[in-house]
Each structure stands twice: as C-alpha cells, then as structure tokens.
Symmetry: D2
C-alpha cells in the first residue's frame, strides 16, 4: 500500500507550469470572444499567474510565448516574476504568424524564409539566456494542405538542418523540446506529425533534445499513455503540454474530457519515475479558455492535474505487479481502478492546509476579489490574445 | 451503356454555386494570411465570381453570407450580379460572430440572446425576398464545451422553437436548409451534430425544410454517400456544401482529399435522381483557400465537381444492376470502378468547346490578366474575409 | 441536493440485463480462447447468470440469442430461469451466421434469402410469446464491402419491408428494438449504420419500435450522451447495449475504457426520466470477455453501471440548472464533476447490505466456490460461444 | 515529362507478392463464409497463386504463414513452387493462435510462454533457410485489453529481448520485418502500435531490421505516405502489407477504398527510390476476401497496385519540383493530379501484350476455366482458412 506521507510529500512538491497565453483571449477560427479584465501585457499576465500560484501553491512557473510576450528588457520581466513568487519557464517560439510563413517556416522551400525562422529560434535562446529559462519549446505549424504542394523528404531535410543549428546554440543547461501534432493548421501533411518523427529527430540531435507530448495532438484512438511510457523508458520525455479534447486539438481544460485518460497518463509517469526531479519532466498546461472564465479555469486545470497525480500515487504498485505476474486480468485492472475510484479531494485539501493554503483554491480565488479588481482596472489598451 | 449525348447535356446543364466568402481571406485560428487582390466588398466578390462563371460556364449562382455581405440596397446588388451573368443564391445566416453568442444563439439559455438570433434569421428571409434567393442556409455554431455547461434537451427545445418561427416566415418558394456539423467551434456538444438531428427537425418543420450535407462535417469513418442516398430516398436532401478534408473541417478544395469519395457521392446523387431539376438539390461550395490562390482554387473546385459528375454519369447502371442482382461482388464493383478510372477531362473539354468556352478554364483564367489587374487595382481599403 | 434515501431506492430498484452469450467463449477473428468451466448449453448459462444476480441483486433478466440459445421447449427454459430467481429478457435475432447471409439477410438482393431472414425474425417473436419476453432486439450485419456491390436505396426498401412485416406480428406488449452500428462485419456500407437511420425506420413503424444504443457502435468522436438525450426527448430510446471500447466495437466491460462517458450517459438518462419504470428503457450488457474470467467480468460490469448510476443520481440538478441559467460555465461543470468525483462505492455497499447482500459482490463470488465447481463439473461436451 | 519506355520497363519489372492465406477462407469474428474450390493445403494455395502470376506476370512470389502453411519438407514445397514459376516469399510467424498466447507471446508475463514464442520465431528462420526466403515478417498480436492488465514498459523490455535473440539468428541475406498495428486483437494497449515503436526497435536491432507498413493498421487520419517517405529517407522501409480499409483493419482489396491514397503512397515510393531493386522494398498483399471470389480478387488487387504505380511513374517530377520551388500550391497540386487523373489502363494493357500476356487478366482468368475446375475437384478435405 502506498505510504500516505510520501504521497502527500510528492503532491506538495509537484510543479505545474502555466502558459502566459492561457490568461489572454483565445478562440476558434470563427470568433474570439473578449472578456473583461483580460491582461494587456506580459506583466499583467504574470499578475494573473501569481494568483493561480497563490491559491494552488504548485504553479510557480510561467511559460512565455515569443513574440506575444516580447518585452524590452527580460531581466525586468524576470524580476517582476520573482517579486510575485514566480519564475519564467519554457520559451515557446512562434513561426506561424507572419505572412512569410504561409508555406512553412523552417521547412519552407525558400531559404530566406527558413533563415528568418531559424533566426527567430536563435533569438528565443537569447531570451532564455536572459530569463534563465531552461526549455526551448518548439512547435512547428509547418506542413502542406494539398498533395503535391511540397516535397515531404526535402522538408525533413530542411527541418533537420534548422534543428541542428538551434541545438548547437543551446547552453549546457538548456533543452530543446520538440512538439508534434497530427494536423492543424496544416491539413494534408504536417512536418512533425507524431511522436515517432519527433523522437527520430531528437535522437539525432542528442541528449539535450526531447519530445513534448501535447495531449490534444493525436489521432483518434491513439494510446497516449503508451507513448509516455515508451518515451520515459528511452529517456526522451521532455514534458507535457496538458489540455483535453473530445475531437481534435480542442485545447479544453486538462482532465475535463477524459479524466480517466489523464489518470492513466499520470500512472505511467509515476510508475516509471517521471515524477522524480531527476527525470526533469516539465508538466505544462497549454489550453485555450474560449468560453469560460480564464483564471478560475487555470486553477481548475492545475487541480485536475493534482487529482490525477494523487490517484496515480495511490495505486498499490506491489498488488498491481503481483496480479500482473499472475496473469489475473481482472485483479490487476481492479487494483488500478481502486485508486482511480478514490475521491482524492479530501487528501488534496489536507495537503493544502498543511502548507498553509486554503483547502479550496477555486473558492479562495472567488473570495479574493481579484476578478472584480481586474475587470475594473484593466480598461483601455488592447487585450492580450492569440497573436498579441 | 450511358448515352454520351445525354451525359454531355447533363454536364452542360449542371449548376454549381460558389460562396462569396471563398473569394475573401480565410485562415485558421493561428493565422489568416492576406493575399493581394482580395475583394474589399460584396461587389468585388461578385466580380471575381463572374470570372469563375465566365470560364467554367456552370457557376452562375453566388451564395451570400449575412452580415459579411450586407449592403444598403440588395436590389442594387442583385442587378450588379445580373449584369455580370450571375444570380444571388442561398443566404447564409451568421449567429456566431457577436460577443452575445459566446454560449450559443438560438439555443442560448438567455431568451434575449435567442430573440436577437431569431431576429437575425428573420432579417435573412427579408434579404431573400429582396434578392430573390430561394434558400436560407442555417448553420448553428451552438453547442457547449464542457460537460454540464448546459442542458442538452432544453437546447433542443429552444432550437425547435426558433426553427419553427423562421419556417413560418418563409415564402411559398423558399426553403430552409439545415446544416449539421460534428464539432467546431463547440467542443463537447453541438446542437445539430449529425444528419439525424437535422433530419428530425426538418421532418417536424415540414416540406420546405431540408438537410444540407457539408462534406467536411462528419466523424471519421462516416459513409457520406449513404447519408446522401438515404436523404434523397426521403426527399430531404436540400443540397451540399462541398469541400474536402483529411482530418476535421479542413475546408480544402472539393475532391482534393478523396476524389473517389466525391465520385461515390455523385454516383448516389445521379442514380437517385438528384441531378434532375425537379429534385432541387443545391450544389454549393463552402471552402477556405488559406494557402492557395483563391479564384483559381474556386475554378479548380468547380471542375472537380464536374469531373466527379461526369464519371458518375458514365456508370453503366444496367450492367451495375445486373451484377448486383447476380450477387457478383467483383463484377458490380468493377462496373463502378470502370467509370471512375475513366479520364473524363477530354469529355469535359468537349462539353466546354461545344458551349463556346475555352476547354481549359484554369489556363483561360491565367491568360485573362484578371489576377494581375485586381492585384494592382484593389489596394487600400479592407480586404474581405471571415467576419468582414 | 439529492435525497440520499431516494438515491438508494433508485439504486436498489435498478435492473441490468445480462446476455447469455457473455457467459460463453468469445474472441476476435484471430482466436477464440477457451476457458475452463464455460457453459455448454442455455441452462448452464442461466446457472451462471443466477450467480451474477445472487451477488449483485440487480441482474434478474437474461437476454437470449437465437439460435445460440435454441431449446426444444422454451416453457421449460423459462421455468428453469424462474426457479433461479431469473426471467428471460430480450430475444436477439441472428441473421449473420448462415452461409446464405454472405451478402446480407433482410437486405439481400435475393428475395429467397430475405424470406428466410424474415421467417427467422418471426420465429423469434414466436419464442418471445413462449418465454414472455417483451423485447425483440434486432441487429443486422447487413451491408456491403465494396463500392458498387449493391444498391444502397434498394437495400433500404428491402429493410423497410422486412421490418414492417415483423412489426405487424408483434403483440400488444412487445417491442421491436432496432440497433445500429457503424461498421463490422460490413466494411463499406452498413444498412443501419447510425441512430438517424434506426430512428427514421422506427418512426415509420410506429410506437412499438424504438432505438437501441450500443455504446460501442459509433464513429470516433461521436457524443453518445447527446443521442441518448435526443432519443429520450422523442420517446424513442428503447434501451442500451452496454460495453466499452477504446477503438472500434471492442466489446470490453462497460465503464472500463471511459467511465466518465458512462457517467455522462447515465446523467442524461437520469435527468430525462430514463430511470423511471414508465420510460421502459432496457439496460442490457452486450460484451465479450475474451481474456478475462467471464462471470466476475459480468459482475464487475453490473457494478460499473451501478456506480455510474449512483454518481448520476448524486448530481445536484437544482444547482446545475441554476449555474446553467446563469451562463456560468465553470460552476455548471463543477456541479457535474462534483458528483463524478465522489467515491460511490461506500454508498453502494450500504445499498447492498440493506438488501441483505454481501457488500462486495466480487469477493462474495470468489468465496462462493462456484468457479472451482464449474471448472470441475463442466467437462466434456462443447463449450458455448459465438455461434453455439 | 516521364519517358514512357522507362515507365513501361518499370511496370514490367515490378514484383508484387501475394499471401498464401488470401486464397483460403477468411471472415470476421461473426462468420467465416466458405466458398467452393478453396484450397485445402499449401500446395493448392500455390496452384492458385500460379494462376495469379500466369495472368498478371508480376506476382511470382508467395508469402507463407507458419503454421498455416506447415509441411513436412519445405524443399518439396519450394520445388513445387518453382515448377509453377513461383518462389516462396516472406515467412510470416504466428504467435496468436495458441491458447498459451491469451495474454501475449513474446511480451507475455510468463517466461515459459515467451520461450515458446521465441522458439517459434527461430523455427521460422529455420524454415527460411529451407525455403530460401529472405524475409521474416513479424506481426505481434501482443497487448492488453484493460488498463492495469500488464506493465507497458516491462512488455517493451521483453519484446526487445525476444527481437534481439531472433535478430541474432538471421543469416547474412535475411531480414527481420517488424509490422505495427494500432489495435486488434488487443483493445487497450498494443505492444507495437505504431511506426515509431517499430522504428525504434529496428534501429536498436541493426541494419537487417526494417519496418513493414500495413496500410490498414493506422489510426484514422494518419498520413501513411508521410510515414513511407520518412522511412525511405531513413533506409528503414522494409516493405508493405497492402490492403485497404474504410474503418479499421478491414483487409479489403488494396486500392478499393481510397485509390488516391494508394497513388500518393506509390508516388512517395517512386520519387524516393523505393522502386529500385537496391531499395529492396517488398510489395506484399495482406488481404481477406470475405465476400468476394478469392483468386479474381487477388488479380484485381495486383492490378490496382500496378495502376497506382503507373500513375506514380507518370508524375512529371521536374514540373512538380519547379512548382514546389516556386511555392505555387495549385500548380504543384495540378502536376500530381494530372498523373492521377490519367487512365493508365491502356498503358498497362500494352505492357502486358508486349510481354505476351493477355491484356485483361480478369477476363483471361475467367476464360481459363480454373474456377470451375477447382470448384469441381476440390471437394472433401478441410478448406484452408485463418488458422488452418
């Protein structure tokens, strides 16, 4: 049976990174709905992220997205974060929102466009140096929409070349995290469509290159926890972009669509050492809160990851291994389900209270008056969102 | 064996409706790429549509989208169209691009929002009266993103009520075409997610309500031609929104992703009387040309529908029926494939030449200088696109 | 807040029907694994079903499959069931395991084959008269594997004709439940592929025809609870064939693959009156226990349905409606999740104990010695399974 | 423009391997339909395969499946093949049709079962030595049905160990081809579910291990031609198991469900050197002819591959590259489609006639009287099929 004190310690020590863009407006291709109080610059995003950390106690890191979070002086931004108990996390590159990138960025047929894209990636490493960020997270929208549009193999060559140059620029304590995605915004081929492609490139690049698993980026029916376990076995799991989906890359709150899947993922993480600090797996959110209130949605998402983690930590691994070795399908399944069926909310409330936090972060945030304050104060200016 | 003269006559008589928004800018949630020469108002869209009709000879109708194509005087717009050999086609409503519609339009929990949405739909019928359009095409983005967000059944009640009011407003020669879509922009429930839901509502409304099949709006694995055949059998197929997809609602050029599927659809249409004028099936395009040149893409799309139709008309229905009755699977399949494997481009070139058209619409358009002219002339002002 | 006494009463009164074939061997096209103690005839299947009811208290009904459960005298079988506290449930027809049905049964191009199939269906109604079964459950494997193989519309005509004849034969208290399935064993078209097709036929047949939802028979991404809610609204939900799947029609234990989905389904059922006796919704299992022990798997499945039902009954519908009316997405979602996150196993243990049952049916069955007994006694003869 | 003489030479030199089991009975889990004239032993399967080669001229190789094609003396079988103009191709292992393999074979938790499985694989290499087969094709049904059932990572360890032992046994001119499959017969995890897993294992094993792409083994939406291009770029594409599907692993005739996809695959093969003898890509069929006549279905399948290859060879690669380099999406797409839209049947008829073959293999087979002969002669005995 799991040791409850150890479970609590693990939960208290967990770190979940929230994305700056989760605090801004977002939407679909049909409409971006605006909301009162949305931040207008990176500083206000950090103010909101600070609330999430204040009430959950496990979200001190904030991912930035360049150029959406571009500032004149990253040292100032970093200090601003530290003053609020935060630190700057992964730097996310953007090679998809410039008219030059219509046919791709690092895979574009035109070397001038590729140069522009690689220069942006190198600039991101410069920013990492300035912010102290350890992770460069690369997601490429590159691909094609029509059969014949471009040469699949030539694009891989260009991709490999760009990655090699960026990899060579990384400092000793910096990583390149390569994300994959089945489709969107490319609708025929995507240049890094699956974990296999990302893994193959990371293998060639070297130990500082690892795969990022975005839980919304797979084909229907894909067993994500298998991929997670496989990558952990190979030492190639760099981290997660958590969110959930019923259909495509819906970017809903993690755990909202299939909490059992999230539990199964966290079970593989926990069982295979992925919660150990040494494994250096980054647990990041990457979500769009299109119709719901943004800060409470981030809080709920952090809590959903916590609850899945708690359940994963409650799995009786000895009993599980024994039933598996005996080939007792139902008994092994029952061990796993017993943990999943447990209501871990009381346990997490205890963990919070033991750390001096309010047991219910959602209620605490609601009572804090922050939402009313930002709605009143943040008027005028341009709200942050996709592309801003 | 099909009578070639009859096939040619059918092809010459076919009508394919192009959407005004296909000439404007479009994109994904990540980026809308702008292109030189894109229209800045509904009149310029008609100018472009006129080129498509000029070179293909089968695309005289243009669907409008309200409010994107709002003008002060629709009689003027209608005359402008007629002067260019065009006529105004289906009126498409828009109940998804106003901040009020964050949680839905005709299914919104707040009756004030529903009133606003229904008023817009009634306004669309007013516009139909003014333009002489016969079809009101309704697509609702309504739905929810999270389990529990709203009451599925209550939303159906609200939907039914709104549809009934609009249906009651239709003139004798007007139809209500109800589109369905699996998901996007709603990511948990969609209020009209599949043909069954649309069919059930149309059945209750009456004979002037019919289903529209958008070829990109289905779950993976859905057999679209089955739905088409079923709806034709029931007299409930109002028309198509043609496009193609590899993944979700990719809105690629029709026939680009799976030309065999398009052929199978047109085979069911042709075999079940759907090409007859009396069947009144509207063959409309609904596409987004995100990375390719827009007018040539519409021309190519029209030609793709023509080619699929030509192949469908070449199916030897007698031989097919005989093989089917004999239970000879391979022979029946071979009859269908024989038509599909035929290169119908020479036949279509003949059809065009017999009508005094250039045999190659793409080449004719390229040679016309139109693209260069609009790129030069259409500077300043705001380009039309999603939402404009 | 839900009234716990009422919740308990509802749980105690719930009835879950188990399938006779769930006790026999089953497998995939690659292999049927045999297991010790598997029944060799319908009587031994009832013996096993009696154990499931003995330990769960909510599974008195057993679905039969004809001809797998054919006996000389159904009155004897019925008495045998009653003596064990059971009753015979839905009669399932089989028009797919005869060489005559290679190209279909009721939709076959050859009228002689259709006659044979319809005669079998009529025989099933005769058996219902003998057993007192109220439900005729029809699933047709009919369809085609290749484009062109047969005429989609003609097949619908034949289907409609067959259904009408069978419907006409039903007694006043008998129902025809029409199941749909996306694919398998047909791989191009299926003649009843989706709920819309089943619904349209049931509507034409009349009030005694209703739709059965098999939870494993949908395209990826289909929102099953929407269909359930829609059918309940229309009075056309006849019942469920419960099972679960990660991929296609995997026929795993219900609740094993996506327990949250099962909860959402049961939430729609409970909220829309589907648990009321008057609604007459049949909650049936339809599963294949290919690798796990069969009787404990059925017990676990029954418990999974109970747990999902318990959670659904715990949803605070007033709070839900209030949050929905207020348009508070996160609050409404939280009300639903609060019920789902509750560990309902203690409540169900109480319900069992109050009825004089062992609180843990799995443990009680294991302790009963039944498995050892049947393994020892049921030697010789032919084990029952798919097709036997 | 492609040189027609070279295209013809390439088509005449193409080799397509047919599977012994394609000539036997097959079916779904619901029913195996028997057909008159089906072979009763490996020799009769070769007799049928000889007809396919006789009429197509490009199918001299026959894949065997052990133990379905077990004979006492493989030298005799090999001679029997040679006497009919055939040679024995890939040896396919079977570690899924023994009761011992209920929970897996090389990944089974019990080392005794793993030993049994590995011994079978080694026996297959012995058979390769006897038959002169160069390829060992491994497909593992291994996996789990329920979360928790077994340890995903431990299973990978066992898999790696088994593969290493078998790899070590290979002769200098022998290859290990590792197939992957999303699901079925395992319904939760599959131990080699995707190309990435197969690729990672092959990379560790060494140059004699390569990936096999079965065109029916992917998640919905997977871009297969991308995988093919990627593996060719890495020198890791061992071959194909060709078939087609609308849904899951339907095992329909290749090219029947999506002929455009087959063309796109063959385009990547042709463009990236995969048709060169040096590339050593095996073009194998792996199909089940459940409802259609078997030998004509194999002939049709071979022709479908030929037609897709012919179209791929007709792609004007210079024009394609020029349009791609220019970023002209529609022009590049048009170059590809121009080849696809071509009716290549006349060209293939010419290729056949120049080689002294009948231009229409289907008609030639029908006229040969073979089907009538085997229906009359092959009576008594047990028909071959899955598992026999």
């Amino acid at each position: 049976m799991p040791d409850i004190a150890a479970v609590k310690a693990a939960l208290a020590g967990q770190r979940i990174e929230t994305p700056s863009w989760g605090y801004g407006n977002s939407g679909t291709r049909f409409k971006v709905f605006t909301r009162a109080g949305v931040p207008r610059d990176p500083y206000e995003k950090l103010d909101d992220a600070a609330r999430v950390h204040e009430f959950t106690g496990v979200a001190p890191k904030v991912s930035l997205h360049i150029p959406w979070d571009k500032v004149d002086d990253y040292a100032v931004l970093s200090t601003y974060a530290k003053d609020r108990g935060l630190e700057l996390g992964a730097i996310n590159s953007n090679t998809f929102q410039d008219d030059a990138y219509r046919l791709g960025s690092v895979c574009h047929p035109d070397p001038k466009v590729r140069r522009k894209a690689v220069d942006h990636l190198l600039e991101c490493v410069d920013i990492m140096d300035a912010t102290g960020s350890a992770d460069l997270k690369l997601w490429f929208a590159d691909g094609t929409n029509y059969p014949g549009q471009d040469d699949v193999v030539a694009r891989q060559d260009r991709l490999g070349e760009a990655l090699a140059e960026v990899y060579g620029r990384l400092g000793d304590d910096q990583r390149l995290l390569l994300e994959y995605k089945l489709f969107e915004p490319s609708f025929y081929t995507t240049d890094v469509p699956d974990w296999g492609t990302s893994y193959a490139h990371c293998l060639k690049l070297g130990p500082k290159a690892q795969v990022v698993v975005d839980t919304g980026h797979h084909a229907p029916g894909t067993n994500i926890e298998f991929i997670v376990a496989f990558l952990l076995r190979e030492g190639k799991l760099g981290g997660f972009d958590f969110n959930s989906r019923f259909y495509a890359d819906d970017d809903l709150m993690v755990g909202a669509a299939d909490p059992f899947q999230l539990f199964r993922i966290m079970h593989e993480v926990a069982k295979n050492g992925g919660l150990d600090r040494a494994a250096n797996v980054a647990f990041m959110l990457d979500q769009c809160h299109n119709v719901e209130a943004k800060i409470p949605a981030v809080i709920r998402s952090v809590m959903n990851v916590q609850e899945a983690t708690a359940k994963a930590l409650l799995v009786d691994l000895d009993a599980l291994a024994a039933a598996q070795a005996a080939g007792d399908v139902l008994a092994a399944h029952a061990v796993l389900m017993d943990a999943y069926d447990t209501d871990v909310r009381p346990l997490l409330r205890e963990v919070r209270e033991e750390r001096g936090l309010h047991p219910d972060p959602v209620a605490a945030y609601a009572a804090s008056g922050w939402q009313e304050r930002i709605a009143a104060e943040r008027v005028g200016g341009e709200q942050a969102g996709w592309g801003a």
